[in-house]
């Protein structure tokens, strides 16, 4: 008779899963995993999509399920919820700092951003030299969650996580 891990241990195990597109942060600190519930041998994991068309979602779902199964849970259910809608404000401060060190400008605090047609207000600092003298090259980048910038100070191009 083996005892199954506690909810807390499941959270710890899930925090070992890197984000498929940005491996320096894991799916828990990304804010994707919303809830873990254990009922006997059954584990229910609730996740929320980052960007609705993100192709990494399938992979994340699979990895959540596989991780819970490897801990001995059976059945494992991975539920998807839309509400409250995922926001970059949920990415932990430590993870944002790791993004910056990785070369991706972290998202800014979302604030009251209710009206749709609004331009990005605050300047995006260069993750390498910290200069605020940067400009957007493309609102769309290699993944749905990032835009392409260039630093006019150190001349380096860089990616910036979109604030949503």
């Amino acid at each position: 008779m083996t005892t199954l891990p506690s909810t807390e241990q499941v959270w710890k195990a899930l925090a070992q899963i890197p984000d498929p597109e940005i491996p320096v942060i894991n799916v828990v600190e990304m804010g994707i995993v919303r809830d873990v519930e254990i009922e006997g041998n059954k584990a229910t994991i609730t996740m929320t999509p980052t960007f609705s068309g993100c192709p990494a979602l399938h992979l994340i779902r699979e990895q959540l399920e596989r991780t819970a199964r490897a801990l001995g849970f059976d059945p494992v259910e991975v539920k998807t919820v839309l509400s409250p809608a995922w926001s970059t404000d949920w990415i932990t401060p430590e993870a944002k700092e790791r993004l910056r060190q990785y070369g991706i400008a972290p998202p800014k605090p979302r604030g009251a951003q209710d009206f749709l047609i609004e331009l990005e207000a605050a300047p995006t600092p260069c993750p390498r030299c910290g200069s605020l003298n940067t400009s957007v090259k493309n609102t769309f980048g290699p993944t749905l969650c990032k835009a392409i910038y260039v630093c006019n100070n150190c001349q380096e191009p860089f990616e910036s996580f979109k604030t949503v």
Binding site: P49, F51, S52, G53, C54, P55, L82, S83, P84, A85, W86, S87, F115, L116, I117, E118, L119, K137, N138, T139, F140, G141, P142, L144, I148, K162, V164
Partner: protein, 252 residues
């Protein structure tokens, strides 16, 4: 929700999803053929977002009637699709593609903004999700309208031509589906007439500022989502061929 309202909501969600799927597939034709690499990537991103939104709309329908989104997208024939004709039109040149995406994004932006307070909670939740992504689309396509309209004589001429072709078609975005007034009365979806008012005001101002003339004669204005252009048949034939080739396949 009454049974009658449920049936109409299913039809409305299908129309919303079908618009996104067909527009996304049409614009995906640019992948690998964009005028410059950055734009190729940007449009592919927008397409991916629109497909994500279609998934959400089909998902809401699934909650109501248990239908499978993949079955709906890949195994319905053209006459069962409920997209508007604007999204079916061939991609044309870059000006044509950007104008259509702009007119659609602007409609979507105002529709979503009005739908945030839907009394049907699953729809309000999906709207909160989609609205955050749409912001980036409109920013992008709006800038292209300025760039092309005020660019060279040729870019202005091409954009003007596209506008004359699309203006009438775009009006179909504001034609209700049969029974939609029931959903409006229950606060489930916004009233298209007020969405249109804002869209007209905003698009007219932006297009004119970009140096374009609004067509005096709006041209052909489709009115029913049960009619389609011949282009829908060919785009579906291409889009659905792999799925239909081997319907049981788990991995393509």
């Amino acid at each position: 929700m009454t049974n009658a309202a449920k049936e109409i909501l299913i039809a409305k969600l299908t129309a919303l999803a079908d618009d996104e799927v067909i527009l996304a597939h049409r614009n995906s034709e640019w992948t690998g053929h964009g005028p410059i690499l950055e734009e190729d990537i940007a449009l592919a991103n927008i397409v991916q977002d629109e497909l994500g939104h279609a998934t959400l709309w089909y998902g809401l329908r699934q909650q109501l009637d248990g239908s499978d989104p993949d079955q709906l997208a890949f195994f319905r024939d053209a006459n069962e699709y409920r997209c508007c004709e604007l999204v079916e039109l061939p991609k044309g040149d870059w000006a044509f593609t950007m104008l259509r995406q702009y007119l659609f994004d602007l409609y979507e932006a105002f529709w979503l903004e009005a739908a945030r307070h839907s009394t049907y909670q699953p729809l309000a939740d999906a709207v909160q999700k989609i609205i955050r992504e749409e912001r980036f689309h409109l920013q992008h396509t709006q800038a292209w309208i300025e760039r092309l309209g005020q660019g060279t004589e040729e870019s202005n001429r091409r954009l003007q031509q596209a506008l004359e072709m699309q203006w009438g078609y775009a009006q179909q975005l504001f034609v209700s589906i049969p029974g939609e007034e029931l959903l409006v009365a229950e606060g489930i979806v916004p009233d298209l007439a007020s969405v249109k008012e804002r869209w007209l005001e905003h698009s007219t101002r932006h297009l004119q500022a970009a140096g374009l003339r609004l067509p005096i004669n709006p041209g052909y204005q489709p009115t029913s989502r049960t009619y389609h252009t011949e282009h829908l048949w060919s785009i579906l034939a291409e889009m659905q061929s792999t799925a239909r080739w081997d319907a049981e396949a788990k991995v393509w």
